[in-house]
Amino acid sequence: METGKGTLLVVDDDAFVSEMLADILDGDGYKVLTAERGMEALKKLEDLPEISLVISDMNMPEMNGLELIEAIRKSGSDVPIIILTGNSEISVAIAALNKGANDYLIKDENINETITISVEKVMEKQQLKLQNIQLMENLAQKNRELKKERTLASKVQANILPIKLQLSGFQTGIYYRPSNQIGGDFFDALETKNSIHFLIGDISGHSTSSALVMAVCNGMFRSLGQTMENPLEIVTAANRMLCQMLMDSGMFLTLAYMTLDRENNVLSVVSAGHNPVFLFNGTDIETIESTGPVLGWDPDDDWEVLEFPFNPGSTLFLYTDGLVEAKNSSNEEFEARLIESLIRIEGPPDELVTTLLREVSDFCGGRFDDDLTMFAIKRL
């Protein structure tokens, strides 16, 4: 006798009907248990968790079919239930469906055939339901794991970046916020024997891969900055490594890399497709535009190096596109207001950054779609 298809419980006070259904379903590969009363059925359901479907008559003494359905559902069980009705009891059958039954069958001369079809259909639906629940649980678990990973990655990333910089002879102001816990923005400052290096970069996108590339870039520039003094050599070397790493993905890095010759007060700038850099020299603001393509597309690319005086009292303002692309409700970008804000705001770099953050947040209603980084450096 096959029992692999599941264990069924037939509940009917008429032993003839129970035995007939048991014979049919047993022959179809099910293991069939029977109960004559509702209370007996509830006891069997409680004791035998392997019961995967209940077939119940409607008219039974002590506890009728509707009451049995109610009691089963009240117990928290979602075992599928098929009810058996007479021809004249369709309205009762509908009431049973509303109470939580899964199907109903009319006890007529076709019951031999309809019972197996109904059982198979209901069991199949139940199987799908259970699979869906399992899939949803798996998905929820994956989401929980992903969230945990992102939180961890966010903490790691925040620790990579120099949130506070102690540079002798300089004041700095910094704001960094990834749009989605992790991001592709980074910035740094590095003191070497003869110069100071400042950089800000933005990896395209703000996915996990962007964050990974950002972490690699951060380490790569620290290493290059320790061994090279010329910003063009540093950017060229970084570009070759990035092209090898990013291949044909289309991903890229926009970067502004500057070195300050402390002795001669000259700031050398290479901007690889980055937003304009602003340099305040007394009353003048110098807008330093991109001097060549972004990094990661072509290993043979080249950049122009621009030089500017950077004397005590001068301030350098670096940022990523999250600042200028922040939009207001009229879909206008903050970019048009940036220079006006930079001219108007007075105070040390940390106040400049704090005030700009407040202004851009008011402008876009606090809705930032991109990573946002601001880095202001004043030479004392």
Binding site: G205, D248, S249, P293
Partner: protein
């Protein structure tokens, strides 16, 4: 993002509508991959209906440029709106990808370059 695909002689003109941002980059790549699988080699991306493009969007345009040229084809972008044109200019993507002011100019550019590739 919706795509309209037109044929102009043997050039496929792909006209996406919407914002070319991170969530749309795979669909652009997939559209171009399907065209390459079907042996189309000349593709013009008409960007007149792209209102906004972020860095991921630009990355996807660079990636499809490499896909097409890597398959021996010819690729160009045309009819960029101001914001998109600015992103191309700042990043110098306009030095890496052929950019035409209008769809018609883009078609002519591709036809000329196709003749050049064929050595005619």
């Amino acid at each position: 993002m919706d795509y309209k695909i037109e044929m102009a002689h043997d050039v496929v003109v792909l006209v996406p509508t919407g914002n070319l941002v991170a969530s749309e980059t795979e669909s652009l790549k997939s559209q171009v991959e399907k065209l390459i699988e079907k042996k189309f080699r000349c593709i013009l991306l008409d960007m007149s209906r792209i209102d906004f493009m972020d860095s991921s969007g630009l990355g996807s345009v660079m990636a499809v440029n490499k896909l097409v040229t890597g398959a021996g084809g010819v690729f160009a972008c045309a009819a960029l709106q101001e914001g998109v044109r600015k992103v191309f200019r700042v990043t110098r993507a306009d030095q890496k990808i052929a950019v035409a002011a209008t769809q018609l100019e883009g078609l002519l550019q591709i036809q000329e370059r196709t003749l050049h590739v064929k050595g005619l």
